[in-house]
């Protein structure tokens, strides 16, 4: 039986096994080193991902932009009606397609405006911006009108407030 003797540092093997690898990537020791770095990086990446999900969970409250049809029927058409869980004002029209809603944040810096019954307008408590019942700017510093939201049917019982 013949035994093939391999030289300890056979440069041919480097070329055959890993032709494109960097010169450091040739010995068993360096391979193990890179493997360790790879495995550590893999573990670190997924640990960080889990930690990030844990840390960021529950920090942003989700807005439930649905209301029941029953509630919608009970809304008075005379004035805007505020839905706290939807963070929106509803202005009821003759029917669903004529009804509109506005997000309750001012277009200036995002403070939550309120309906001023005496003046018949929306008034922002932070910097005094005013909007009429159609969401048009009456007084600054806000320059943009309130973005209009639409009411659509979500199910047989519920309505959805959305941008489209």
């Amino acid at each position: 039986m013949t035994r093939r003797i391999f030289p300890a540092h056979n440069t041919c093997y480097r070329k055959i096994v890993m032709p494109n690898a960097s010169p450091e990537f040739n010995t068993k020791r360096s391979f193990l080193k890179y493997l360790m770095v790879f495995v550590s990086g893999f573990i670190a990446f997924f640990s960080s991902w889990g930690i990030a999900r844990f840390v960021f969970s529950g920090t942003g409250q989700k807005v439930d932009r649905t209301i029941s049809k029953e509630l919608f029927q009970s809304i008075n058409r005379e004035k805007p009606y505020f839905i706290p869980q939807a963070e929106a004002w509803i202005i009821k029209g003759q029917n669903l397609s004529e009804s509109v809603a506005f997000d309750d944040r001012c277009t200036h810096l995002g403070c939550r405006y309120k309906w001023n019954q005496d003046k018949d307008l929306f008034e922002c408590p932070c910097h005094g911006s005013e909007f009429d019942i159609h969401g048009q700017v009456l007084r600054g510093p806000a320059t943009r009108h309130l973005p209009r939201l639409y009411l659509t049917e979500a199910s047989s019982q519920m309505l959805r407030i959305s941008e489209h």
């Binding site: 889990g50 844990f54 529950g58």
Partner: protein
Amino acid sequence: MRRDSLTAFLEHIHPRSVPEISTRVSFTFCLGGLATAMFLVEILTGALLMLYYFPSIPNAYPSIQRVMYFAPYGFVFRNIHYWAGQAMVILVLVHMVRVFLTQSYLPPRQLNWVIGVILLGLVFIEDFTGYLLVWDERAHWAWTIARNLTEKIPYVGDGFASVLFGPLHVSDLCLIRVYAWHVLFLPATLAFLMSIHYWKVRKDGGISTPL
């Protein structure tokens, strides 16, 4: 950080030479180092759990339920925190047995032995305060028993129990006090004494070989 400066830092905290016998893992089983690793795991996972924990009587247990069942990976972090805590207690105890069996309490290491015993006591208290923070029925009665036992220490018992466990009657103040001990004062003291403990190992001739 450049690689050579990192290497220099590691060489700085390691001794320049070590006895050959101490390079065997079976000589110390690296128990002190493992306990320190558990301590670091506790710090990391504890900091994460602090984002959800609410130290008040009506909210403590629901906040832990929230971590366990609603927060993403919350059960993983809480279980790691719990089991690393138990492992730390066991590792510190076995470390102490090893130190005793190798007679490492003898001079010149007698001060480090005393610091080690204090660290052991602090680890027990740290573990116990964590057990109380859950504030379920078991923790409530554990708090009552521990406070009553502490009160029985002659002369200083009443004051010591008040400082450690808060007012006599259960209220939010008791839980906040236990919480403050658990997350701030005890870990800070542990970290400080552990630094001295490590420094003394180096100063007293390295890992405890026969002198």
